[in-house]
Amino acid sequence: MSLWRLITREILYRKLNFALAVLSVLVAAGCLVAELTLLRSHDLQTAAILAQKEAEVAARMKQVEEETAARMRQVEDDYRKIALKLGFNILILPKDQNLSDLYADDFASRYMPEDYVERLARAGVVTINHLLPSLQQKLKWPEQERTIILMGVRGEVPILHQVPKKPLLQPVPPGTVVVGHELHRSLKLKKGDRIKLLGREFTVHQLQPERGNKDDITLWINLREAQELLDRPGQINAILALECNCSDDRLAKVREEIAGILPDTQVIEFASQALTRAEARNRAAALAQQERAEAAALAAKILDDEKTARARLRQEQEAFAHVLVPLVLAGCIVWIGVLAFNNVRERQVEIGILRALGLRAGHVFALFLTKAVLVGLVGAAIGYLAGSLIGTYWGEAPAGVRFDPSLLVLVLAAAPVLAALASWVPALLAARQDPAVVLREE
């Protein structure tokens, strides 16, 4: 004869009491497991949805990339074709300018009066559209100890008798400077910064994008200020004329027209189609970049919206679980306690007689507590099965997540402890019961 046999026989004898207690644990464990399974299945579903969305977005981005690349090629080709039909750019230089020096130094070293450009504009020249006078010089920037090209510009000079066109180049306001890419990148300059050049302070007006040529080490300032700094009042060393309108033997016609107006100058063609192609590539690339950025932003927004929606749904489920699970647990603990009290009351005589037979208080305590642990174990096992099935049935879990062994361990460990705690006081009362009181009354 063992306590275990006594417990199991009593359970079989008072099936209803045991069944109700097990049911109570089953409800609590089932509720907990179902909630956790629901949350887990929600997480899995969220991961699956997000993975699917990410795959869709990646596919869409790839498609955008391909479409953009195709469009970019198309745009570039279009620009190339357009450039073929375009006019070209010319550079008007002082007649005594050695072209070898020009190509070697990247700037003209001879000077001509600034009013040449005025004369050209007033003459109503017809073969060119834009006139851009400049004074440029390669020099050592003493404040930063680096070589730069300083270019003084005054913007575009309007040509008489021509319909005003949108200017290709804006003038640089006095006191300000436009900085080439390599310079502002290496000096970490921002718009609005103050820099010193040849002892004079300038405010950074604009930062140029990367061009991959001498423009990247160029500082553009107002022509008047450049003339003052370089001590070349009223002088320039080049006039850039853009979009020359000629088709056959075009350079000869331009040269002829300009020589008639400015006999002390020479005219050379200046990087016309290369510039146009580069510009075409840049614009196409910018367009592609913009499209990619827009597509990426849209994709990120779609993913973010999905994540937010899923997170909100999980929060709602969690909030519900935070209320429901403790309530059910508390209710079940109270219910197990009540059932244990009833069991003790029902078995008063039995406890009395067992004490009379020599069983100690500890035996009686163990009798009730072991039964509670058994109730916890059985209830937890069935509750785990029930909760897992409910959680899977109601949840969004993909197949294969129905049973979580860690949850089984959790409820198998927690339920007996809680059941034992709930039965602690009744078991203590049973152990402390005076057997004489019952036996005398019987």
């Binding site: 004869m1 005589v349 007689i353 004490r355 009379a356 020599g358 100690r360 035996h363 036996l439």
Partner: protein, 240 residues
């Protein structure tokens, strides 16, 4: 031999049970009720003593106190020379399991245990060697072999009382306390139970029987009459 002990003749050794000046009162609805008032008695090994008296005279109180289940207000209970109430609760329970057997009028069998398990129940308290074998033997002695797997509800009252008696004897007690064991039995069964008690005493055990069954006189060595409260008796008073 029911006790499993070597047979001795009455009062040839020190008393197995010695009750000295036992008093016990209960709180009742109209104040304190005195159940025992300075009661003294002794029961020697091999002696069968019956206390007789009307209901409420304190017979059950005497038996519970003698069995170490009810601490008296005053007085001492010595069993085999040990003062029961000088022992701790744990020691007293262990001592009770090893030394004292109880038989009650209501049998008090555990309703969900079979006859065999009921008889084996005292082994829960004391790891009795060969408890199952001993239980089977007692069941056979009390003519319950055919009922050994039946639960109490399936037994006659006589069978129940015999089961209770077998249970009381499992741990080979020296002292048997029987509270109206024939109260719910027919004449024949009552006679048999008293016979078993007498046999236990003959085998060297001590029996203290609380009863108002007149047939007890046929079996007990001594009859001690009890009156409600204020009654005292010594071991030497009243004899068969």
């Amino acid at each position: 031999m029911l006790s499993g002990e070597k047979a001795t003749t009455p009062a040839e050794e020190q008393p197995l049970l010695e009750v000295r000046h036992l008093s016990k009162s209960y709180r009742g609805p109209k104040g304190m009720v005195r159940a025992l008032d300075g009661m003294s008695l002794t029961v020697g090994a091999g002696e069968f003593v019956a206390v007789q008296g009307p209901s409420g005279c304190g017979k059950t109180t005497l038996l519970l106190a003698a069995g170490g289940l009810l601490r008296p207000d005053q007085g001492q209970v010595l069993v085999a020379g040990r003062d029961l109430y000088a022992l701790s609760d744990e020691e007293r329970a262990r001592f009770r399991a090893a030394t004292i057997g109880f038989v009650f009028q209501q049998f008090h069998l555990v309703p969900y245990l079979s006859v065999l398990d009921n008889v084996r129940a005292p082994a829960l308290a004391l790891k009795t060697a060969n408890a199952r074998q001993r239980a089977e033997q007692l069941i056979e002695t009390f003519g319950l072999t055919h009922r050994r797997h039946h639960v109490p509800a399936e037994l006659s009252t006589g069978e129940r009382q015999r089961t209770a008696l077998a249970r009381a004897l499992l741990n080979r007690p020296k002292l048997l306390l029987a509270d109206e064991p024939t109260g719910n039995l027919d004449r024949e069964s009552g006679q048999a139970v008293l016979g078993y008690l007498a046999e236990f005493a003959r085998d060297g055990g001590a029996v203290l029987l609380a009863t108002h069954d007149p047939r007890a006189a046929e079996f007990a060595h001594r009859i001690i009459p009890m009156e409600p409260a204020a009654w005292t008796a010594s071991a030497t008073e009243g004899s068969r």
